[in-house]
Amino acid sequence: MNNDIIEAKSLAKSFRIGLKRKKILHSISFNIEKEEIFGFLGPNGAGKTTTIKILTGLLNYDSGEVKVFGVKPGEKEARKKTGFLPEQPYFYEHLTGYEFLEFTGKLYGMDNKALKKKIPELLEIVRLKDAGRKRIRTYSRGMLQRIGIANALIRDPELLILDEPLTGLDPIGRKEIKDLIFEQKKRGKTVFFSSHILPDAEQICDRVGVIFNGKIIKIGPLNEILKERITSYEIILRNINENVLNGLNFVKIGNEIVIRTKEEDIESILRNLFEKSNDFKIVKISPEVYTLEEWFVEILKEKNE
């Protein structure tokens, strides 16, 4: 037995448009391990939602092999252990938030007693404690997103599949949902989510995959991906005589000197400076921050060329 919750091998999917078939996913492969938070990124129309619908059994696929908890996606065994938030979730407008959770909770096999305990807890977590008694028809965009997240959590699932969970939420809401996702991981759960909000994704993902035109063009641990691209470091010094900096690439900001250099040169530069002078202070040595967003834009640019 391996540790993979989701396995996709050479997954392909096409849609019929009129008489023609259009390929949407071209043989994509990825694995999601237990207890990881996986961010599924890609521009609009890349195929994220299509992949997610296959993983949840809403769509069939043409070829390849997909397993969720070791069975075909959409099989009861997999559905029992999965919580799902669709993109722009829709709910029965005739129900209140509470009634809706009661409805899906029962479909997950929970009894009245368990629901009486669980639903108020969930409504509290997603901050819909009062709104829970109101018809869903009256909910705002963000409230719909919140009730959708509560719904995904109703059966305390092993795996959460969330299609753009952070969309439509205000900054505090996003923080709360990020904390919640993180909390799930700490409790040994696995999270697969798609997002366009990269700074947020960057904060919580263990690994990311980037899909573009139906192909996975990058996949890997977030820290490695970002490290791969770190090209320069900044050394920030104080109290140093500019004369000793001869030949170095530096700028002066206030009373601090910022030297930009490569990782392998840091040591020799510092040695050199200590030989010439000994009363300066090292404020900080840090990699030039390279965000997921910058990385993402860059690889898409490469692909487009």
Partner: protein, 255 residues
């Protein structure tokens, strides 16, 4: 089993929480009420007509209600995409079909009983006594209306709302004229039309099997064999159509 109940309860609740639903139901009662004033004929005739017309109004009206509502049962969920959150729970797809069927069936059952109670009051005003045999007349009709719900669900699994409603209506009409189809088969000269008509004669549900209004109005109650036959006949169609619908729904993609 409890999942089927959850689905049917939700279907029931969804329909009965719509204003339009009550407007339709009210319309049915008004129709029934008007029938009372339509025939100010001699006393003996009036009591027959109020029975006959009342039963016809109840069956026609409930068929109409089922066609209007039943054709949207699955489509509303798919169009509004609420189905995503149902399909992805551990519910079986056949449980959704059966649950939807039962949800609408119970609404119609309640409506039929309600209308018949109202009908009894009207009968009481003309005859100064109730006529509970009317309930017996409506019992086989429950199977007819159930088969229509099944047909609507069946077509909803692979075609649109309007087409499903149309097919429901077509089956209703043909189901009542099916004896004529046999007659047509007998006199038809073209072999193709003969085979075609015989095929449909034996294959389509014959709704006249569920129609004992006339007998009841004239005071005859069919024997036990009739009821056993019509119950079995109805159940075979219901189970078969629901089964085939589930098979199609099982394979369905939700785009």
């Amino acid at each position: 089993m409890s999942r089927i109940f959850t689905i049917s309860k939700n279907t029931f609740r969804e329909l009965t929480r719509q204003k339009i639903f009550f407007i339709i139901v009210l319309f049915g009662f008004v129709m029934l009420f008007i029938s009372f004033f339509l025939y100010p004929l001699s006393v003996g005739e009036q009591s027959k007509i109020i029975r006959d017309f009342g039963l016809s109004a109840i069956t026609f009206f409930n068929t109409l209600l089922v066609i209007i509502v039943g054709s949207t049962l699955l489509h509303k969920e798919m169009d509004k995409r609420t189905i995503y959150l149902v399909i992805t729970t551990p519910v079986e797809r056949r449980e959704i079909i059966i649950g939807k069927f039962l949800g609408l069936f119970f609404i119609v059952l309640i409506n039929i009983v309600g209308m018949e109670v109202f009908h009894q009051i009207l009968i009481f005003f003309t005859d100064h006594k109730f006529d509970l045999k009317m309930f017996i007349a409506l019992f086989p009709y429950l199977f007819e209306v159930s088969i229509i719900i099944c047909i609507l669900l069946f077509f909803s699994t692979f075609t649109g709302t309007l087409f499903s409603a149309f097919m429901g209506f077509a089956f209703y009409v043909i189901g009542h004229l099916i004896e004529s189809l046999k007659l047509f088969a007998e006199i038809s000269k073209s072999l193709f039309l003969k085979i075609f008509s015989y095929f449909f004669y034996y294959f389509l549900p014959n709704f006249e099997h569920f129609n004992i209004k006339r007998e009841i109005v004239y005071g005859e109650i069919p024997d036990k064999e009739y009821f056993i036959f019509s119950i079995c006949y109805g159940l075979i169609y219901i189970i078969l159509i629901l089964y085939i619908s589930s098979l199609i729904f099982e394979k369905k993609e939700f785009k």
